[in-house]
């Protein structure tokens, strides 16, 4: 018995390491390429020993205003997250604690809107923003990011709130709590984990979003995702520079994600793992 267990243990450990390496490989490759020259970058087979250069990073910084892109990303991601939470929390609250016969249908239909390819909505939304003179503004991106994330946010918060036993809310009411006190002293502290996860997830999704950022605001309101795209032009692939730009774009969110990973992934579990 004991032998079989340790044998399968070794196998499992090896397998786990293999998978981990395989999945880490793309990021590693990206990092390495970013420090190559363009010539080294396109060499087949890949070169693994070379003198690292910072040239790509400085060139990206010269050609594009990195700080500007980064600020746009931070503003639109933060604002859309905040705005989304302000709308999603009350919606999820009422769905979780005062459900009607339709609540389930509404939730399903909200999710089903995410099934349509984004391209299907591009033209009308473009026209709407155009007629309000909002093309290429941070406001437009914030609004579209908020709308894009709203169904997921309501869903996640609903799942969290639904796990809070309603009797606790009722106990607070009987203890003399009005609506605000109930929210402030009971729902908010108990649901904080879920609210934070939801916010984090939506922040990351807004940060990584490229389709709308490219189509609605690349010149003034461009986010870091659009900066990457400007290096994958049809005239040819500049791998090293593209890698450097990618690294600079995803760097902050990867670091941010690293520190908040637990919270973040917990948010994606929809309460399924307990």
């Amino acid at each position: 018995m004991a032998k079989r267990i340790s044998y399968s243990n070794i196998l499992r450990t090896l397998f786990a390491w293999l998978i981990a390496l395989l999945l880490f490989f793309p990021l590693l490759f990206l990092i390495i390429t970013a420090f190559k020259t363009e010539l080294q970058a396109i060499a087949v087979p890949s070169i693994w020993s070379f003198t690292p250069t910072f040239e790509n990073f400085s060139e990206v910084q010269d050609r594009s205003d990195y700080a500007n892109y980064a600020i746009n990303s931070i503003i639109t991601s933060s604002a859309s997250t905040l705005l989304g939470l302000l709308m999603a929390v009350p919606a999820a609250y009422s769905m979780a604690f005062a459900p009607t016969r339709r609540t389930k249908d509404i939730l399903m239909w909200m999710l089903s809107t995410k099934m349509m390819p984004a391209v299907g909505a591009l033209i009308p939304i473009y026209v709407i923003f155009q007629s309000f003179g909002m093309l290429d503004t941070l406001g437009a991106l914030t609004i579209i990011f908020t709308l894009m994330n709203l169904p997921i946010m309501v869903w996640m918060l609903y799942s969290y709130f639904k796990d809070i036993p309603f009797e606790i809310i009722e106990a607070a009411r009987i203890d003399g709590a009005g609506l605000w006190e109930e929210f402030r002293h009971v729902l908010l502290p108990i649901g904080m984990g879920g609210i934070a996860s939801t916010g984090l997830l939506c922040f990351v999704m807004a940060w990584n979003e490229a389709f709308w950022a490219l189509n609605l605001g690349s010149a003034n309101a461009g986010t870091l995702a659009t900066m990457i795209a400007s290096y994958s032009s049809p005239e040819g692939l500049f791998w090293a520079k593209l890698s450097a730009a990618s690294l600079m774009a995803i760097g902050p969110i990867v670091v941010f994600g690293w520190f908040s990973q637990k919270q973040l992934v917990q948010g994606m579990t929809f309460g399924a793992v307990k």
Partner: protein, 337 residues
């Protein structure tokens, strides 16, 4: 008018008439138990008193004031929930002081009251723990403590013992009875367990399908049930019901006769009017329950004896009963006195 007065209270869920007009007057200091099978409306009625369910028709008066439409936070009641419903993010102290803080009591008063309650409930050493760090029985006591610190007008208990194991249930039952004697607070207690109802209540309210079947002291219900439902619901094992044809002296209109298990005597079959065959003998140590199939009636009765029995399944026995202890029911199931 009584301290707490329910006047023709009704409740609908869509087309379902859940509470069908309840009239009930509860005096100050009484311990009232609502008991009935699941789905009888006892919890709904309690929640309507608490304000957690709306009263669709009728009125509810507490201490002379109509509170039918008052928000639960303004009714001055306390409730102990089946799931305890403690605030998971607060310590025991914070749980117990939450209501007082909302009521803007001074912190000195709050501290005093919480410490008093904690002492009474043997919780003093757990005051800084969160509910997660407590056992089931301790959580239960915190839930009770949260209720008593407020000195509310009425205590509501919604099946507070059903999440505890048998031993702890018995113990907590004694504690609740003790607290009630000490605080003399008006209490309404919901349970589906007739033993809890019998041992705790000043008066028991037996409910079925949204109506009150009978209200009375525990022994009134046991000795003089108003109908077949109450007769069979109160007492364990249930009262045996037999057709009236077996009883020569039954009053006119009787269709069925009820006999409690302890009012039968087992005798030799040849001396008895009624005989049967033993199906099973349940020996519990202090008493013996004998299940007997009545001959030619395809009916089973249970006989309780307070001593050991040497009888075995398959044996024939005769049955004798105490005629004054019989209960006669008409075709509506109502008792004939």
């Amino acid at each position: 008018m009584a301290f707490l007065h329910l006047n023709k209270v009704e409740k609908y869920y869509g087309n379902v008439h859940a509470i069908k007009g309840i009239d009930l007057a509860i005096e100050k200091g009484e311990f009232i138990v609502f008991v009935g099978p699941s789905g009888c409306g006892k919890s709904t009625l309690l929640r309507m008193i608490a304000g957690l369910e709306e009263i669709d028709k009728g009125s509810l008066h507490l201490d002379g004031k109509d509170i039918s439409q008052t928000h639960p936070s303004k009714r001055d009641l306390a409730m102990v929930f089946q799931s305890y419903a403690l605030y998971p993010h607060m310590t025991v102290t914070e749980n117990m002081s939450f209501a007082l803080k909302l009521a803007k009591e001074s912190s000195a008063v709050i501290k005093q009251k919480v410490n008093d309650a904690a002492e009474k409930l043997d919780l003093t050493q757990y005051l800084d723990r969160t509910p997660k760090e407590l056992s089931g029985g301790q959580r239960q006591r915190v839930a009770i403590g949260r209720a008593i610190v407020r000195s509310p007008k009425v205590f509501l208990f919604d099946e507070p013992l059903s999440n505890l194991d048998a031993a702890l249930r018995g113990q907590t039952r004694v504690e609740i009875a003790h607290l009630h004697r000490e605080l003399e607070a008006t209490s309404i207690y919901v349970t589906h367990d007739q033993v809890e109802a019998m041992t705790l209540a000043d008066r028991v309210v037996v409910m079925q399908a949204g109506v009150i079947e009978q209200v009375g002291t525990p022994m009134e219900l046991y000795d003089y049930p108003a109908n077949k439902f109450v007769a069979q619901f109160i007492g364990m094992p249930s009262m045996n019901i037999l057709p009236s044809t077996l009883f020569r002296d039954a009053p006119y209109h009787t269709t069925e006769v009820g006999i409690r298990p302890e009012h039968f005597k087992l005798i030799a079959p040849d001396q008895a009017q009624l005989t049967g065959e033993i199906e099973m003998v349940e020996a519990l140590g202090n008493e013996t329950l004998t299940h007997i199939n009545i001959n030619d009636q395809s009916q089973q009765i249970i006989v309780r004896q307070h001593q050991r029995s040497q009888l075995k399944p398959g044996q024939k026995v005769g049955l004798q009963w105490d005629t004054p202890k019989l209960h006669y029911f008409d075709d509506q199931g109502l008792v004939i006195r």
